[in-house]
Every structure is written in C-alpha cells, then in structure tokens.
C-alpha cells in the first residue's frame, strides 16, 4: 500500500486571538493510504476540528506540508482549493447540511454544478447513481423535511460520493443520530470502504464508532498521541443485528 492519499508532515496551525497565540496543532505527522478507513479521535480542544479543516482544504496549515493525492495544498489559491474540494473530497457533516425545500436528487447534484465539464444529463445520471449506492434511489424527489435523520445523512453521503472523490471526509457524521441509525450509517461506510475501496477519514469522539474503522489516530493537545491499526475491526452489520429489536410502542 504505497499509494498515499494523504501525507501530513509536521502540520502546525496557530491562531492569533487578540494578543495571544493559540497553537491548535503542534506538528502532526501521518499518512493515509488508499482504501483505508481511518478515524481521528480526540476530545474537544484536541485540535480535531482544525485538522479536519486542513484535511478538507478549507484551511491551510501555518507550517508543515500537506499533500492531498500528491498535490501540495499549501501553494494553492482560494479558487484552486475550491476546485480541489470539488474533485477530490466528499464532505459529510454532523448536521447533514442539505439545502432545505430542495429534492434529495438536487441536493446530490449540487457539487456537480460546480464542475463545468458535465452536461445536465450526466449530472442527473451521476446523482441517481450516487443515490442508488446509498439505497435511496426511490426517494430522489423527497425534500429533506420528508426524510428521517438517517436518510438525510445518507443523502449527504450520496452527495459526497457523486463526484467520485479520492476521499470521504466525515465530521461527526453520526453525532446527531441514535445508536441504531449510527450503526446503519457505519455499515454503509464500511460497505463503501470494503466493496468500493473508498478511502474514508472519519472524525469522531465516540470510541464505539472508532471500532468500525481499520485504523485510529488519537489527538491530544494538538499532537498525535496514538496511531494504531485496528486488528479487530467490528462489523457494523453484525453490531446492528446484535442490537435488541427496536422497541417500537
């Protein structure tokens, strides 16, 4: 596994707050290879969010090198970063961030609008394909308010997949969901990772979510304190079956 998707070398990020300098990241180094399912863990204040912003090309490090798919991000302009986000990264957010009063299909299409090479027909086909891979093809014309939380998150995952990015970047993607739905989402993530070979970087602070990934990077106070392979990957599907039956009443 030599094809590195991410390469982080001594990433530092400092913020100036008034007269004080807050050092959110104090030299973070790790690589992510294609096909990995990695979780980044840490309590609040550990620099998780800052690292996520840098990984997502929304922010640039103060110091250090960040290579995304062999492209050095630090030298890019705002517009080039936008293009990189469009082509290489699929975001999944905690709060889904779907456009209200807009159909699921159009929500999935959204990133494709910023890709000038595609025709309207191609856009629609790709969006339908992405919805199919999250098993929501029959809900294309539903608006977010007509979908459950889990379904909304799946639409968001479809949106992340639609541009065939090299990496899916999830930020607390199960944070707003109950255990059962969380496991469903994790099962979907595992499928995407294992069956389609998608690289997934999943930021979370829940240890049981981390158990589903193949590797965990632990952050504390802006530094990597633990970077371990998960020998015993838990299957989200099995975990789902092991849950007591839904006590609907």
């Amino acid at each position: 596994m030599n094809n590195k998707i991410l390469e982080l070398q001594h990433i530092k990020r400092e913020f100036v707050m008034g007269t004080e300098i807050v050092r959110a990241l104090k030299g973070v180094t790790f690589d992510v290879h294609a096909g990995e399912f990695i979780t980044i863990m840490g309590s609040s204040g550990s620099g998780k969010t800052t690292l996520l912003n840098i990984l997502g090309c929304l922010d640039k490090p103060t110091d250090g090198e960040y290579l995304l798919d062999n492209v050095n991000v630090s030298g890019l302009s705002r517009n080039e970063l936008a293009r990189l986000r469009n082509h290489k990264i699929g975001f999944v957010f905690q709060a889904y961030n779907l456009l209200p009063r807009t159909s699921a299909l159009e929500n999935v299409e959204l990133p494709l609008f910023y890709n000038p090479e595609l025709t309207a027909k191609q856009r629609k086909d790709k969006a339908l394909g992405a919805l199919e891979s999250v098993k929501l093809a029959d809900r294309g014309d539903h608006t977010p308010s007509q979908l459950s939380g889990g379904q909304q998150q799946r639409v968001a995952i479809a949106r992340a997949l639609v541009n065939q990015p090299v990496m899916i970047l999830a930020d607390e993607a199960t944070g707003n969901l109950d255990t059962r739905t969380s496991y469903e989402i994790m099962a979907l993530m595992q499928d995407l990772n294992q069956l389609e070979g998608k690289t997934i970087v999943f930021v979370t602070h829940e240890p049981d979510i981390a158990a589903f990934s193949s590797r965990t990077v632990m952050l504390r106070d802006g530094k990597v304190v633990k970077d371990s392979k998960n020998e015993n990957v838990r299957s989200a599907k099995e975990a789902l079956e092991a849950l007591p039956p839904a006590d609907d009443y």
């Binding site: 929304l58 517009n79 936008a82 293009r83 990133p111 000038p116």
Partner: protein, 406 residues
C-alpha cells in the same frame, strides 16, 4: 460555471422562497409602473395643452396698442388709440409672412331675445378672423366683406349665448336679437370651443362685422387689437418683425421713438405652458424614480437578509467546490432576475394603469417608449448595483465559519 447553470441555480434558490422573491419584486414593480404611468400622465397633459394651443391658432399674432408717454404722463395701453384700418390694410397688402389679418373692435353688452337676456361680449371682426382663431360656423353662414362694407346688422352666436337666449333648443338662425338697443339678425352659430387654457369661456361671444361695432355701437375709428396669422408657426418671428416695420411706417415713428403698439405671438405662451408641463413631467418622474430607488434598496435589504440566512448554504456550496466568484454570481443573478422580472411586470402594469386612468378619470395619457426603456434599464441597473454588495459579502464568507454558522 456556465451561464445556464448559474441561472438554474439562481432560479432554484428563488423558487425555494417564492413569496419573499415576489415581495422583493413588488418594490420594483411599483417603481417601474409608477414611472411609466406618471410619465404617461405628464406627456399626455403636455400633448393636450399643445393641441389646445394649436386649436387656438398657434401661429396667431396679436397686435395691441401700447402705453405711451404724452407730456410726461403714461397712458394705459388699452385706452390709447393707435390702431386704425390703415394699419390693417398696410399689413394685409405688404406683409409677406402674414396669411390673414383682422381688426377687433369689441364691447360688452346685454344681449336680449324675447324675455331673456345675457351679458356677453360683442366682437367686431373681419371675415378672416374665423381663419385666424380657427373658428367654424356650425349652422347658417358667416358674414362677408359686403356685410363689413355696409356695416350690416348681422351676427353669429357662440354656444354659451345660444344656451342662455334660446334655452328651449330652437334654432337661433334667422332670429333677431338686440344688443345695446341695436337689433342684430342671427345668421349663424359657432362650433363650441370650450374653455381656453386660461379658463376663459371661448363660447360666450357674439361676432359681427367690425364696422357694425365701430359705427353703430362705439362710434369710433380705432381698434382694440388686430389679429394676424403667420403663414406657419415657424414664421411667427419673421411675421412679427415685418408687422413691427410696417406699423412703425404707418404710425410715422422716428427711429428714436418707442413703438406705440405691441406685437405678441403665441410662441411665448406655448413655451411657458410647455415648460410648465415639462416641469410637471419631471416632478412626477422624480417622485416615481424615488420609488424605484426604494425598490432597489428593498432588493439590497432582502439580499443581505438572504445572505445571512443562507450562510450555511453558502458554506456548504464552498465546501463542495464553489469558488467565491460562483457565489458572487449566484447572488447577483438572483438579484438581477428579481429586478428584471419585476421590471417586466412593472412595464405591463404601468401601461395598463395609464390606460385605466384615461378610461376612468378621462385624463389624457401617452405611454412613451423612452420611459419604458429608461425605467427598464434603471431597474436592470438597480439589480446589479444593489445586488452586488450583498453578493460580494456572500462570496467573501469563510467556508469554515459559514458551515458552523447557527
């Protein structure tokens, strides 16, 4: 990003907030409609004043006696007797730019028919007066040069006089009325002209040959005024100068003497009235223009609110690959779509309301193409101008902040 994509994105965003988009549009709709309707009213009144003036005879020239100094005393013009038949004949024979000339010798009196009477003004004129004042005979005939030569006791009645002396609707033609004890036979009636632009009743009048007034009523050889027609409106100035030259000769004025008469054309009056109605148009347009600007500010206001409200959407769009320029264009196109759609609706509404005003209130209106073009351009410009700042504010958002915005 292609233009079609841009418009599609903007349209979808507007569709999500139909009511708000419409309310924003309303400012522009009212502004544009107001501009078009107001300009139509202004132009309409201008046109009606102009047509009224030309019905009075826009190439008409009036010659009046002027004040003069006699032994250090200034004497009022009207009582100064300087215009005679010699002047009239001289103008008639010598002036090249004058097509018609008529003396006016007028007096006031009580017209009596049977048991009814009516105070009115009697004007002694030449047959050419009908031409100069654009008067037409309704019933009967006009008097002739022969009637003038014999100071015939004939007259034509204006509509107001007829209404008061012949209220039962019988034809006055052939009847004999009395005016200041002189019997006059009615040989014709005049087509009603209505009020003049100054509110004067132009139909409260009796016309007779000027000799009849001069010899039988006033016993004078002077005229109160002389009316003439220039051969065209544009020739009024030349005709005026010509008349001044001729009258200075007939009055034997030395080069150093002031004119003892004055010559007036309608041109000044036309200018005054046109500039009044132009001012009216400008005033109405300005008021309407202000409402258009307010409509524009409405757009800006709503777009700013929209940018704030959609901060997360903007953050998301940026996260999935929208560049600053894409966001800027999206909001700008939204503003332009609102203002242009509003402008189109406003144009239709403006034209309709101008028509409705004419139909219901009877005000003359004239929708001018230039006002449509202008208000449409202004509202397109408004969209760009007032949409730009909110759009720029949106494009400068930091995607990280925008995504976390609550």
């Amino acid at each position: 990003m292609s233009a079609i994509n841009l418009i599609r994105i903007a349209l979808r965003a507007l569709q999500r907030n139909k009511l708000r988009a419409f309310l924003t549009m309303l400012g522009i709709i009212i502004g544009v409609a107001a501009v078009i309707a107001m300009v139509a009213i202004g132009e309409g009144s201008k046109q009606s004043i102009q047509s009224q003036l030309s019905s009075m005879g826009s190439n008409m020239i009036t010659i009046l006696p002027s004040s003069n100094v006699t032994g250090g005393v200034r004497i009022e013009g009207a009582s100064f007797q300087s215009l005679t038949i010699t002047d009239v004949k001289a103008i008639e024979n010598n002036a090249e730019y004058v097509s018609a000339v008529s003396p006016v010798s007028s007096t006031k009196g009580q017209a009596i028919y049977g048991a009814l009477n009516w105070p009115t003004s009697l004007q002694g004129v030449a047959p050419s007066y009908f031409d100069i004042r654009k008067l037409t005979v309704n019933e009967g005939i006009s008097f002739s040069d022969a009637d003038v030569a014999t100071a015939a006791k004939v007259c034509l009645l204006g509509q107001t006089v007829i209404n008061n002396l012949f209220p039962s609707g019988e034809s006055p033609v052939g009847k004999v009325i009395r005016l200041n004890a002189i019997p006059l036979q009615v040989i014709g009636t005049l087509v009603a002209k209505g009020q003049s632009s100054f509110g004067q009743d132009q139909d409260d009048i009796i016309l007779t040959p000027y000799t009849t007034v001069q010899k039988r009523i006033l016993a004078t050889t002077y005229f109160q005024s002389i009316y003439a027609s220039a051969i065209s409106e544009g020739m009024s100035d030349k005709a005026t100068n010509e008349i001044i030259d001729i009258l200075r000769t007939t009055h034997r004025l030395r080069p150093a003497d002031d004119n003892n008469f004055q010559v007036r054309t309608m041109e000044e009056l036309i200018k005054t009235l046109s500039s009044t109605s132009s001012l009216l148009t400008i005033l109405l347009t300005a008021i309407a223009g202000i409402s258009l600007v307010i409509g524009g500010i409405g757009i800006m206001n709503i777009m700013y609110v929209s940018v704030t409200e959609r901060t997360r959407e903007i953050g998301l769009r940026m996260a999935v690959g929208a560049r600053g320029i894409d966001i800027l264009l999206q909001f700008l196109v939204e503003a332009i779509i609102i203002s242009i759609t509003g402008g189109l609706i406003g144009v239709v509404l403006g034209i309709t309301s101008a028509k409705v005003i004419t139909l219901t209130l009877g005000w003359p209106t004239m929708v001018s193409e230039s006002s449509i073009m202008l208000s449409f351009l202004v509202c397109a410009f408004t969209g760009v101008f007032f949409g730009y700042y909110p759009a720029q504010a949106a494009s400068r958002l930091d995607p990280i902040e925008a995504l976390r915005y609550e």
